[in-house]
């Protein structure tokens, strides 16, 4: 069912070649919305859930942004298809496990996905490659207002937008930025950074949320609080914290180069070698090596033009994508071979690492 999504050559997170940046991979904003009077998904009957699903689908299909998009009923998707959509950050794990009558509407270039009957009736999500909090807020705000023109959204002057979980009340806004922080991880400063930003009401999670640690040195950093602040203030506050994190990351990278240059370049060189020559590779190993390759682009050891491909492999090396490409639910051992083969072939045309470039940097 999802072939068209995977074959799409202008998908935001996998094929947006121009806008990828050092440190920040992508920006994601989501809004939680519910309809007046109808019980929230968890307490709604099967009949109510399917009513909500079909009426929301219809309203969404009338919005310009969703023209030529795809709608999927979750119960029509296989486990593997769901996993692929989770790996592309188009749906949540919670939606995969939901009862009958849940769905997702995904627009053509995969910059927007709306989950129906997840924890709330509607979870609207907008994504963009790079660091674009304000721009993405403008887009999602406009989309949300268009949707409200035709749907009766539950709102209270005191509590704001009403959500099933009190942690989302008020704006219902979760702004999240995916950051690549190898400098802070290698120099063992990440724990300190996490503690510091936590005190400012900012949450840090791994690539796939809770418990996914520092795989690929990628972290999702997002606002924790949604009530008591305007959307623009939430975004400004998060943005300011993230700018500081970026500064710390850049400093950590230079410090690594200064203090343990040979060790760092050795790690990058080995990652390059293993990715181009390995024959068996787990998903975590691939992500950690790809992370170092991305760092090589930041250090100009590889041309900037390779960045977008590396970012795409971050997504395409994950277990669901590997199995989907192999056209079968294959065992982890076979997957590791497929993954290594894919990376070997795709990265075979990379130019040699140009270590001389570093001379200008230090």
């Amino acid at each position: 069912m999802i072939e068209s999504l995977l074959n799409c050559k202008d998908a935001e997170l996998t094929h947006n070649t121009q806008k990828a940046t050092p440190v920040v991979l992508s920006t994601r904003l989501r809004l939680a919305r519910n309809l007046v009077g109808i019980p929230f998904p968890e307490r709604a009957s099967v009949a109510q859930r399917s009513d909500i699903l079909s009426s929301c689908e219809e309203h969404l299909s009338n919005i310009d942004k969703m023209k030529r998009g795809n709608f999927f009923d979750v119960s029509d998707l296989s486990d593997l298809e769901k996993q692929v959509l989770v790996e592309r950050h188009l749906i949540s794990r919670e939606l995969c496990e939901s009862k009958q009558g849940s769905g997702v509407f995904i627009n053509k270039d995969q910059t927007c996905s709306v989950m129906i009957n997840e924890e709330d009736h509607l979870r609207i999500q907008f994504m963009k490659t790079g660091f674009h909090l304000k721009n993405v807020w403008k887009q999602i705000d406009k989309f949300d207002s268009q949707l409200e023109d035709s749907l009766d959204v539950a709102f209270d002057s005191e509590f704001g937008y009403l959500t099933a979980c009190p942690t989302n009340l008020g704006t219902g806004l979760r702004a999240s930025v995916m950051m690549h922080l190898p400098g802070l991880v290698i120099s063992e400063q990440m724990e300190r950074v996490i503690r510091a930003v936590n005190q400012l009401g900012i949450t840090v999670r791994g690539l796939f949320g809770e418990g996914s640690d520092a795989i690929g040195h990628v972290f999702q950093i997002s606002n924790q609080q949604t009530l008591g602040e305007k959307e623009s203030d939430i975004i400004d506050r998060l943005g300011n914290v993230l700018k500081t994190v970026i500064d710390h990351e850049v400093n950590a990278r230079f410090k690594c180069l200064e203090d343990s240059r040979a060790k760092l370049l050795d790690q990058i060189g080995r990652a390059y070698g293993v990715l181009r020559n390995g024959h068996v590779m787990t998903s975590n190993e691939a992500l950690n090596h790809l992370s170092l390759l991305r760092l090589a682009v930041d250090f100009e050891l590889l041309p900037e033009s390779n960045r977008a491909d590396i970012d795409r492999f971050f997504i395409e090396s994950q277990p669901g994508h590997i199995q989907y490409a192999a056209n079968a639910g294959i065992e982890p051992d076979a997957r590791d071979v497929c993954r290594a083969t894919k990376l070997r072939e795709e990265l075979g045309s990379l130019p040699a690492l140009d270590f001389d470039k570093l001379a200008d940097l230090t």
Partner: protein, 170 residues
């Protein structure tokens, strides 16, 4: 430990002992195996929420009245157990239980962001007007004049629409 602790949720012997630091306050919870599972202790986010909810019960002290939402049937016990509301009508019913939770959870306890103006006016122009007036009063009290001007304009618009509607009906 000399005395065996009882589960803070039921009376079984507690085997799971948790300490969390929330807003620099130390919160200790003892649970039996079954309640630990039910409360989702394995999920840190879900757990701290249940914890916060428990705390507000303890603070209010003694027995509390059991409330039920007339629209979806959610009861106080359901809300305490899951930390979730059941529908949009729950908020007026459970507001007194919600306020202490929100204080610890968010930057403030009242909404400052955008409002679904069109949807609200369709739902009920009257309640919408009331809501906007509350927002306006608060914005003025907080000297947020930019917001106040925005709300004032929205109120004006709404009144004009209401007048037009009356004309067309008569």
């Amino acid at each position: 430990m000399s005395e065996s602790l009882k589960c803070s949720n039921c009376d079984n012997q507690a085997t799971v002992h948790l300490t969390q630091i929330i807003n620099s306050k130390i919160i200790k919870v003892d649970l039996c195996e079954a309640c630990a599972q039910a409360k989702g202790v394995t999920d840190p986010e879900g757990f701290s929420l249940a914890d916060l909810l428990n705390k507000s019960t303890n603070e209010s002290g003694g027995e509390e009245m059991s409330l039920t939402c007339p629209n979806c049937g959610l009861k106080t016990a359901d809300f305490r157990r899951t930390g979730r509301l059941g529908c949009s009508s729950c908020f007026s019913i459970f507001a007194p239980l919600l306020h202490p939770v929100l204080e610890d959870m968010h930057v403030g306890t009242s909404h400052k962001g955008k409002a679904p103006v069109v949807a609200l006016s369709r739902q009920s122009a009257a309640t919408q007007l009331q809501d906007l007036k509350k927002l306006l009063a608060r914005a003025i009290a907080e000297e947020a004049y930019e917001d106040a001007a925005k709300y004032r304009d929205q109120i004006k618009c709404l009144k004009k629409d209401a007048v037009n509607l009356e004309f067309s009906q008569s």
